[in-house]
Amino acid sequence: MNDPKRIDVIGLLGPLRRYARSLTRDDTQAEDLVQDALVRAYERHGSFRAGGNLRGWLLSILHNTFIDGRRRRLAEVRRLEQATELVDTAALPEQESRVRLQQVQAAFMSLPDVQRAALHLVAIEGLSYQDAAITLNIPVGTLMSRLGRARAALRAFEAGTSVRPSEAGRPHLRIVGGSDV
């Protein structure tokens, strides 16, 4: 995929903007978040280890910028209407699948922030558990339990039932890969 040695911030704008959209659930706020994250990254570019994982570093800064910002509370207010807007802007296949996809999107957007962030990094960006855990600054076990709960919530949403928070439980820990294993 990407050559980790090459500094290509422009090429990472896509992943950053997608992640920002999942976090903020609002296109405009997502763009502002990316902008702020880029400024913050510039201010602390000395903290980037040369030859390190630029994508992980930027995603992590973006995540922290989101956590720190007031936009988190603002986003909370506009949660549901934005969820459907996002789907409307997407060019999607046939009618029936479209409805199903909208359901998934709505379920995804209704997830708690921490679960949505974990699911986005792993399922959408394809990060390894290790890299995602580093990006979110949490242990791998915590990441996996959030993923498990997020998945259970999506399944429950589609089944039309609500899931009890404890149902998915904390998965048995097992390290299953990552870039430095």
Binding site: L13, E31, H45, A50, G51, R155
Partner: protein
């Protein structure tokens, strides 16, 4: 089957984080557990749906974002270059330190040894220079001021350059040398003072442009043209001696 399949394995299966061997074990487990299989399929479907939803191309980033990304990219790029430069500087410093330490300890080659070791004939030239100085001092040793390059060439096979007009030949002697004959000509060379032009046959064909060799009492500038080696020895300034030697050596080119 080695390890029992856990929830974590099913999760990692969906996220494609398992090695192939474990994947197969999970798939064997799912084949015998329809309920778990259905759940995994639902998760896979959700994952693919999310990927599809987020695969929609985004509009072109706004200019300020591109500018900020570009600025960051350049800052990180400079940082990488800076790191490389620091690494290079560290290597250079190490080499420099090694150099210094080496020369301090005295293991390193010194400057004069570093320049090519003068051939054996240069030493002969120095000796004959000293001999000619001795002859000049001794009354009982008459100097021969007749200098006939043509005769020397005919008898010894040694060709001598013609000398500048202001140079006065004070003595010309033929010596036996390691490889045939050698000629020593003592000259009053104006500003250069008393110099010796030494010429000898050598066993090895070579072409050497004039090079200085400094000795305790004199400097010899030597050169070689084919099988004939020459040296201009004197106590004058090195530069002037080199210039004179250069002029003489050019006569055969």
């Amino acid at each position: 089957m080695s390890d029992p399949i856990t929830e974590a394995d099913l999760l990692a299966y969906v996220d494609d984080q398992l090695d192939p061997a474990r994947r197969i074990e999970v798939e064997e487990h799912l084949a015998r557990d329809p309920e778990a299989a259905a759940r995994v399929m639902a998760d896979l479907k959700d994952r693919d749906a999310l990927r599809l939803l987020h695969a929609t191309p985004l509009p072109r980033p706004a200019e300020p974002m591109l500018a900020a990304a570009d600025r960051l990219e350049r800052a990180l790029g400079w940082q990488e270059i800076g790191l490389k430069l620091r690494r290079i500087a560290a290597v250079v410093a190490l080499i420099g330190f090694g150099w210094f330490a080496h020369s301090q300890v005295g293991l390193g080659i010194t400057d004069s040894e570093a320049s090519p070791k003068p051939p054996a004939f240069v030493e002969d030239a120095l000796h004959s220079h000293e001999t000619s100085l001795l002859r000049a001092r001794m009354v009982s040793q008459p100097e021969v001021e007749d200098y006939d390059p043509a005769e020397i060439l005919a008898e010894t096979g040694i060709r001598l350059p013609s000398l500048p007009r202001d140079w006065q030949v004070r003595d010309a002697q033929i010596f036996p040398s390691r490889h045939g004959h050698s000629i020593e000509i003592a000259i009053d060379a104006g500003d250069l003072g008393r110099v010796s032009l030494f010429a000898a046959q050598t066993p090895v064909f070579d072409v050497i442009a004039p090079l200085p060799a400094r000795f305790e009492k004199a400097t010899a500038v030597y050169w070689q043209t084919g099988q004939l080696a020459y040296a201009l020895t004197g106590t004058g300034s090195d530069k002037a001696l080199e210039r004179a030697a250069l002029r003489l050596s050019r006569e055969f080119q």
